[in-house]
């Protein structure tokens, strides 16, 4: 079922799982987070904003996490993905996902991982979801497109009108390589140029190339609008690269970023930063309200973060893709934890970036 780890020109590190680190276990991560003192729980914060219990508003995005294998080992990765991971969505789950895609009016299929393109049936998922009339988002790490067996990807993306959402934490080398591994920036620039050459990110092409930035550190992202303008100006000036939109995503205290926070003694301070920045407007627009996340084994989650903490959807709703019931899932109560403050801090954060246009107050 699994494929061999792809060779990489850039620097990779062993995952938490490979190192047998205690935080490789989701239960250990949940326990650590629950031990941290915070001035109020996420449920209390939502209650104060009149949003508790938080309920889904529908399912507009079916997000498939097809596996944890990746050719990169980013230091902030909440999946603990890497070349040594072997989890891959089995055929039975892929088949059932395709049935759900065909049978429902859910408009968007969002494919993530790991590097989702490493899944042996990724092409089939894309092709069939497009044939069913869905918008297909591929969460691409860019460097995968430079590997010999995956050099077909840019053309495949373009031929199938895939909406590419690519990670690039900074428009300069140092920040990107610090977070994603030495050598990743240069490879990412090459990959972005190839996508641009096919029309991606170019006005009028209809081929959408969005970028995602996570802070390279323990600070919160700034204004998405202002950063997008800066990223566009600088990437064009420095490398001639164009793209459509920039999404800012807050680093989540899960898996490798959680380990980083704990090792550097910043976990309490970071959680406090997230709690202090709680924004009711951001809470109202969190992605879990219109997304359903499917794990590699078919388990259903409210989001990819809950998936990595092994917090499946509310027990009153169907919990696997095999029991999928749109009506029951569309109004489910969202499962919450202290990590949820990561999606409601400041301007908010989601797979689609900031959840509001609210300006974050100056720190000093």
């Amino acid at each position: 079922m699994t494929t061999a780890a792809a060779p990489s020109a850039h620097r990779v590190l062993p995952t938490l799982q490979k190192r047998h680190a205690p935080l490789a276990a989701a239960a250990e991560q949940r326990a650590l987070l629950s031990r941290m003192p915070v001035r109020r729980s996420f449920e209390e914060a939502l209650g104060g904003a009149g949003l508790y219990p938080l309920r889904a508003t529908g399912i507009e995005i079916l997000q498939l996490n097809v596996g944890r294998k990746c050719n990169q080992t980013c230091r902030h990765c909440h999946v603990d993905a890497g070349p040594d991971r072997t989890e891959m969505m089995p055929d039975a789950v892929v088949d059932r996902c395709l049935e759900v895609i065909d049978a429902t009016g859910i408009p968007t299929v969002d494919i993530t991982g790991g590097a989702p393109e490493l899944h042996p049936r990724w092409r089939e998922l894309v092709t069939r979801a497009r044939a069913a009339g869905k918008e297909v988002i591929d969460r691409c790490n860019l460097t995968i497109t430079l590997l010999p067996n995956y050099a077909y990807l840019p053309r495949f993306f373009a031929d199938h009108g895939v909406h590419v959402v690519a990670s690039l934490p900074h428009y300069r080398q140092k920040g990107t390589d610090t977070q994603r591994g030495g050598g990743v920036f240069e490879e990412s620039v090459t990959a972005l140029r190839r996508l641009n050459a096919l029309g991606y990110g170019k006005p009028g092409s209809g081929l959408v190339l969005d970028l995602v930035t996570n802070p390279v550190g323990t600070f919160l992202p700034g204004s998405q609008k202002a950063l997008e303008a800066e990223w566009k100006r600088q990437l064009l000036r420095l490398y001639g690269i164009e793209f459509n939109a920039l999404y800012t995503i807050t680093n989540m205290p899960i898996a490798r970023f959680l380990e980083f926070l704990e090792e550097t003694g910043q976990l309490g301070e970071y959680l406090e930063r997230l709690v202090t920045a709680f924004n009711p407007a951001a809470a109202a627009g969190v992605m879990c309200r219109n997304t359903l996340s499917v794990g590699w084994d078919g388990t259903l989650y409210d989001c990819d973060f809950n998936q990595m903490l092994e917090l499946p959807v509310d027990a009153r709703a169907p919990r696997t893709i095999f029991d999928f019931d749109l009506e029951a899932l569309a109004r489910r109560e969202i499962v919450l934890g202290p990590h949820c403050f990561g999606c409601t801090a400041g301007a908010g954060s989601s797979c689609g970036g900031a959840t509001t246009g609210v300006k974050i107050a100056l720190t000093g």
């Binding site: 140092k174 600070f219 700034g222 204004s223 202002a226 974050i360």
Partner: protein, 111 residues
């Protein structure tokens, strides 16, 4: 009795300066916010200027606040370090250019 003049915990208490003179602080903070809003310069550029000035005036509160703010607004460590060098160069140059005054005095008084 405080044993030191500077305390990092005083930074988030900045707003307390409004006690006993609220009208003045309201004017100051309103003007401050307007200064840092996007205009002919971007918010990121203004934050880099603030970081450089913070080093020129050697304010640890401002260095703390604008180190964070520069990162949040998308600057990286190389850009921030260059900004600090600009401040240092102006401080150093400001001393050195006064050497011309010294030379003027010396030339007037000497033979």
């Amino acid at each position: 009795m405080h044993t030191h003049y500077y305390d990092a915990h005083d930074l988030p208490r900045f707003g307390e300066i409004g006690k006993d003179a609220p009208g003045l602080s309201e004017k100051f903070f309103a003007w401050y916010d307007a200064v840092f809003a996007e205009g002919a310069l971007t918010e990121r550029e203004k934050s880099l200027i603030a970081l450089a000035v913070a080093h020129a005036v050697q304010c640890p509160y401002c260095i703390d606040a604008y180190s964070q703010d520069c990162l949040r607004k998308g600057s990286d460590l190389e850009q921030m370090t260059e900004a600090v060098h600009v401040a240092a160069a102006i401080r150093g140059g400001a001393s050195l250019v006064h050497g011309i005054q010294m030379r003027n005095h010396a030339e007037r008084l000497g033979m």
